[in-house]
């Protein structure tokens, strides 16, 4: 179960979205998220859904993957939707005991759910089409002007790369340890929160020990491969802003105008 996490996963490919410079993509995701919170009408959401659908199509990644990425937030989605539906004051549509569902409630619930789903889809578009290395490279480049004031941009990027590299390895190991402890009769499911937290100790301790050992071995292996910080280091893949990047940036003002425009068009209550 632990292995089929899609969030943060990368699907290699040659699509337009794959070819965009990761820095441009980061900027786009930022704009996408900010504008998403400005959208407040049905027209605006329709626009956003259409744009997102086009982007998914462009990425060449199966839609199923995006839904899979949404699985971890299903609970959050339902929870916020229900809360919004019942807790918003306004014109009641029907009553359930002392609770009443209002028209405004439904509106806010639907919008909020859409917003969350679009948020996850938008960021997934970034992580699905950008290799983690590209992403950390982009962050390194964005941070590099700050290295003059002591921000260790290259070390931060290296740390992120290693973290991403070892997440699956350590998850797998956790899985193994849990199974090993269960086989010895450990019980992680019963008792109150305190008892369960206590039951986690035999998992965490071996996990930590092994993580330290890994870190030690990895450090030696990196030294053997002549790692000595970011100084004088070249990269296999150079980041380069190309024509498509500039073209894609031109769409940012277009999106901005469309979103502002959509805010003026509330069709009735929607």
């Amino acid at each position: 179960m632990i292995r089929d996490i899609t969030l943060g996963q990368f699907f290699p490919g040659k699509s337009l979205l794959h070819r965009l410079d990761p820095r441009v993509k980061l900027l786009w995701v930022l704009v996408y998220i900010i504008l998403l919170f400005l959208v407040n009408t049905a027209l605006g959401f329709t626009l956003y859904v259409v744009i997102t659908a086009v982007l998914i199509k462009l990425s060449g990644i199966r839609v199923k993957m995006f839904f899979k990425g949404m699985r971890p937030i299903v609970f959050l989605l339902v929870f916020t939707a229900v809360i919004n539906m019942f807790m918003t004051a306004g014109e009641p549509i029907f009553k359930l005991g002392f609770l009443s569902v209002t028209k405004e409630g439904i509106r806010i619930a639907v919008f909020m759910a859409l917003r969350l789903m679009l948020l996850v889809t938008g960021t997934s578009l970034l992580t699905f089409t950008t290799s983690p290395i590209m992403l950390t490279d982009a962050i390194e480049r964005i941070l590099s002007p700050f290295s003059k004031i002591g921000v260790p941009a290259d070390a931060i990027a290296m740390m992120m790369t290693i973290a991403i590299r070892f997440i699956p390895t350590i998850l797998e190991e956790t899985d193994k340890i849990i199974k090993a402890q269960k086989a010895r009769g450990a019980d992680f499911e019963s008792g109150n929160i305190l008892a369960r937290a206590k039951a986690m100790t035999p998992i965490l301790i071996p996990l930590f020990i092994s993580a330290f050992r890994r870190a030690d071995e990895l450090a030696v292996a990196m030294e053997c491969r002549c790692y000595h910080g970011g100084e004088g280091r070249t990269r296999l893949k150079q980041l380069k802003i190309s024509k498509i990047d500039i073209e894609s940036l031109c769409f940012i003002p277009v999106l901005l105008i469309l979103v502002i425009f959509s805010r003026q068009f509330s069709l009735g209550l929607m």
Partner: protein, 281 residues
């Protein structure tokens, strides 16, 4: 290629000093395939780390490609020429994508991007992993990961590769993959190989075997010389290869066989000879 003179090493911690290596004199020649044997704790890994200046001698000298390993300015010249592969493939891979990982060494050396590309493709071809260039390491088998680790070293264009029990965590098919790759590196590319191992059949493939015990070298010679000294090998806490053991036992039972045999091929021939002879009698 690697020459040591009265090499000594001890680990120092606050409260005690552990002497691990004493007076090692060894000369590994260019193009040689050397296997290093020895029981647990005999100092093999420590010796390996002294070969590429991860550890520095506490006594004596180690010359690597003619450079004194204690010369701090030339440390990267040493490390790029003496590649190291370790036991656990997971803990050697740095990047999230195979080709990025292979590129890690040359990147650190400041090689031009176009040249890195060439080296990465070449190295992946050599280990037969080109088709996995864009895969994520955690989706590969142990043997495949270890081959990627080897490719990552190859991309630095080393003259010598030191492998510290590279097959210890692999299944039989993974072991075979790695040993074949190592042989190929030595035979076809002329890379000097130092293979530390606990498997006698792997050691039997080398040109030369060095046996370590208690931090010194106690046997040094061709596989045939070393592995057939049964008493000596046993007294050092090691085993002879299974085929040598078989021949020894046959001889002990009174069969007239040659017990100086170290590989399966020779063993098969010898057994065939024996069977034919028994038939004729």
């Amino acid at each position: 290629m690697i020459k040591t003179e009265e090499l000594k090493f001890s680990y120092k911690s606050e409260d005690k000093v552990t002497d691990v290596l004493n007076d090692i004199n060894i000369n590994i020649i260019e193009g040689e395939f050397v296997a290093v044997l020895g029981r647990n704790g005999s100092g093999k890994s420590t010796f390996a780390k002294l070969m590429n200046a991860i550890l520095l001698p506490t006594g004596g000298k180690a010359y690597v490609c003619g450079i004194d390993s204690a010369d701090e300015d030339k440390i990267y010249d040493i490390r790029k020429n003496i590649g190291m592969v370790f036991q656990n493939p997971d803990n050697q891979l740095v990047a999230t994508i195979v080709e990025e990982d292979v590129a890690f060494g040359p990147e650190n050396l400041g090689v031009e991007p176009s040249e890195i590309r060439k080296r990465v493709d070449w190295a992946l071809d050599v280990v037969g992993m080109r088709e996995f260039a864009e895969a994520a390491p955690h989706h590969l088998s142990g043997g495949q990961k270890q081959r990627i680790a080897i490719a990552g070293i190859l991309a630095m264009k080393p003259q010598c590769i030191v492998l510290d029990e590279p097959t210890a965590m692999l299944d039989p098919s993974g072991r075979r993959e790695i040993i074949n790759t190592v042989k190929q590196l030595n035979r076809e590319l002329g890379i000097t190989i130092v293979l530390i191992t606990h498997y006698m059949d792997e050691a039997a493939l080398a040109d030369r075997i060095i046996v370590m015990s208690g931090g010194s070298v106690c046997l040094d010679g061709t596989p045939k010389d070393v592995l057939t000294q049964r008493e000596r090998i046993k007294s050092l806490g090691l085993d002879t290869p299974q085929v040598t053991e078989l021949m020894y036992n046959l001889k002990a039972c009174g069969f007239d066989v040659n017990d100086k045999i170290i590989n399966v091929e020779e063993c098969v021939n010898e057994l065939l000879r024996l069977i034919k002879k028994e038939k004729n009698d």
